[in-house]
Structure formats: C-alpha cells, structure tokens
Symmetry: C2
Subunit: 245 residues, 2 copies
C-alpha cells in the first residue's frame, strides 16, 4: 500500500477528513445538505468504504456531520465551535483573538506541598513542589491570578531558567521533559474577592470571582500540574461544549 502517503506522509483518512471539513466550512456543502452515500464518496476518493467511514466518524464526533441510519449522512445545521473543553495556550489564544496580553511574575518558589496539592499531583504531603504565581493582564486590565504547582523532582531545572518565558507556555515546558499533557479535570465556582485578590485584580473586596481549579494529566494518567486561579467575574467567562452519553 503506497497510495497511503500519496503526497506527504499523511494518512488518507485524514486527508479526506480535512477535505470534507473544508468543503463544509467553505459552504460548498451547505448546512442540512445530504452527502453522497458512503459508497459513492469512497469511490470518488478512491478508497474503501471503511477508510471513508473513519474520516466521517471524526466529523460526526465533532458535530459537523450527523448520520441517519437507513437514510444518509448530512451536514449539521449548527457547527460547534472549539472552546474551553480543550486545552489551549492562553497567550496564543488571546492573540489570535486580537487581544493584547501580558503577564507579571508574582512569585516563584520551591515549597513543601500542602495536602490538597500533594494529593492532586500524586505526591506525598510535604514533597517539594514549585509554586509559580502570576498575574495575567488583558488589554491593560489585570484579569487572572494564576497559581500553578508542579513537582520539583521532575522539573528541578525550572528554577534555573528564564521563568519569565517558560511561564508563558508551561505545556511546552512540560513536554520538553517528556510529559505530554493530554487531559485535565477542571472545577469552577463563584466566590467573593478576598482583600489580597481584590488588590491584585484592582477590584473591590467582595466583588465576584470566577474561581477555577485544574489538574492536568498525560495520556498515561500521570498528574503534571495543579492550578488555582482567580478570575475577575466581570471580565472573564468560560464556554464549553456538552455532549450526550
């Protein structure tokens, strides 16, 4: 099988999937429209039906297509945007949205993990962890106080590095140590700003805060980072997708 990498080293089902996606998003295939049958499409792409189905299944999972057994496959009316249900880099993402962003390091220290942090990271209470506390500023407004914890054992070189830069892409930093972050669990609640938080975010004491706790894991399920953050309620919101099943 060498038509597999026709041009580049990309599998056929991915090339076909992206071609279909492009045709949908460009409007060539319009919303609600019925696609040709799987057999026809497979023939037109010159692949087997199983391969074509692999392409389409990805798009069905994304909500771009839906299938009706015995009827056909259709372009969904509503296309679901990507959002906070997947991992992304705050700085890159903000810039893509045309926002000016900045970050100020408030504190970087190596401390013994308190129980909550140790538990989240799968360490013993009191193990050495790095605490990185930063203030994120969007369009001149301080918006988030970020407090990340990760193992000093695994990342001892962090403290000897250009923290200013590393802190802007911790995921890349973790990956440089062989830990690819692939999943996470996040918890949100609303609370009132304590004096220290209020001062840093330039809001009144008692103003609403969107509080977030998050643990990140590799695909193996190894915890890599535990994070708290306090976000200004009036300037920060979180959007995410829901799905059945």
């Amino acid at each position: 099988m060498d038509s597999l990498n026709s041009l580049t080293g990309i599998p056929q089902y991915i090339r076909i999937r992206e071609d279909l996606r492009t045709r949908i998003l460009s409007g060539e295939l319009s919303r609600g429209e019925k696609l040709p049958s799987e057999e026809e499409l497979a023939a037109s792409y010159g692949v087997s039906r199983m391969t074509l189905r692999q392409s389409m299944s990805d798009l069905v999972d994304e909500g771009l297509l839906y299938r009706k057994h015995g009827v056909g496959t259709f372009v969904a009316l509503q296309h679901f945007a990507r959002d906070h249900s997947y991992l992304q880099n705050f700085f890159e993402n903000s810039r893509q949205n045309g926002l000016s962003v900045d970050e100020k390091i408030l504190e970087m220290s190596v401390i013994p993990a308190r129980l909550q942090v140790a538990k989240a990271l799968g360490l013993l209470e009191g193990s050495q962890v790095i605490r990185l506390k930063t203030l994120r500023i969007v369009e001149g407004n301080p918006i988030t106080i970020h407090e990340a914890y990760f193992s000093f054992d695994k990342f001892s070189d962090f403290v000897e590095n250009d923290v200013e830069n590393l802190s802007k892409d911790l995921l890349a930093y973790y990956e440089s140590h062989g830990l690819k972050v692939r999943r996470g669990v996040q918890r949100l609640d609303a609370r009132s700003a304590e004096p220290e938080v209020a001062a840093l975010l330039a809001i009144e004491v008692g103003a609403p805060i969107l509080y977030k706790e998050r643990t990140l894991y590799t695909e193996e399920g190894i915890p890599v980072e535990f994070l708290f953050c306090h976000n200004r309620g009036d300037l920060y919101s979180v959007t995410f997708n829901l799905s059945a099943e």
Copy 2:
C-alpha cells in the same frame, strides 16, 4: 454473520468494550498494566482485529486506555470521571449522589422572545416562547434559579400538561416531540446576586453567583432550549474534563 448478535442484539464491539471496561474498573486489569496485543485479544474474543480496535478506540477516547505505537496498549493510571461535559438529568444525578432534591415552579408563561432568546433558538425576535422558571432545592437549600425558554410553536401542548412533572425531565419531554438533544454550548461567569435573586436563594444581596447560560441542540444542530441559571456560589460548582486537540 450471525455471531453478531450472539445473545442479545448488541454488536460485538460493544460487548467487548464493556467487558474490557468491567475488567479495568474491577481491577482485574490494573492501572498501568499492558494489555495483550490487539491480535491476541482479537483471537481470544474470536473477532477480527478491526472489530477489536473499534472496542478499544472507544476506551482510549474515554481516557481509560492509551496506546503507544510500536509498544502496546495500557490501562491509564488515572481514570477520568464523567461530569458536566456531558448532558445529564439534575434530579436523577442528584439522587444517585444520595441528595434530596426538590423543585418549585416559580413561573410558566408564554411570552414574546427578546432578542437574545430568539437568536439562541433560531427564531425571530418576538416569536412566542415558553418561559419556565423554577427554583431547585437540594437538601433543603435553594441552590439554583432556572429559567428555560423553548419554542411555543414546537411545544404548544406543554402549557396544557402537568408542568410540575414535565419540568423535572425536559430532555425526555423534548424527545417525546421527536427532538433528541445531543449537544450543547454552555457559558459560565461569576456575578453578584441582585436583590430578586438573593431573596429567592436566601442569600445576601451581592453574594457570589455562578451564572450559567446554555443552549441545547439536536444532533442535526436544531436549537431546542435556551437557559439561564443563577447558582449559589457557595453550594454549587461545575466540574468538566479537558482534552487535547
């Protein structure tokens, strides 16, 4: 092929998937353990490798397994719990968690949709919509003010029915009208309780509220319901999974 429905009408890949899931969750296959190769497993289940892969791919997507190309397939160290990233029924879910829950209907009316509601539901501004406003009470504490909107055109019989009961499972009600809700988009922020909200939730004016807006869709992408809710910040939090890509 008639081994397909060996016992019930359940496809093999689903039976195999659930068997594997059980073996993992029961601890028979322990965390971090390497599974037999796909070929071996396929043989032991008496199916082709493609069929076995279909079973395993589902579990990989869930985060129960992970694959290493050229090495093998392993049980993840961390199993990801299901949570607010999927649709669920508040009442059923709360009871499963052993909580006593109750709901009080505050208002049910048919009104012209204001712009935000109309837009979310794909209707024209001023179209007739049903507004259902309820107060949800957990363990005796009022916790959420729920305000749902849906098309009067599609659901005109709602107002003639036992609203008290229907309101406890709107998803089932929508489905009884041929609209299966499969996806949604949700937005959260933190805000301060207005006097009316504070009174209903029995909290002080200005106390933190976790505010949620949500639109629900069928798999075809037809919007079915638009919802606001105000949740007590100190008693309500939202957990959801993140994933890469």
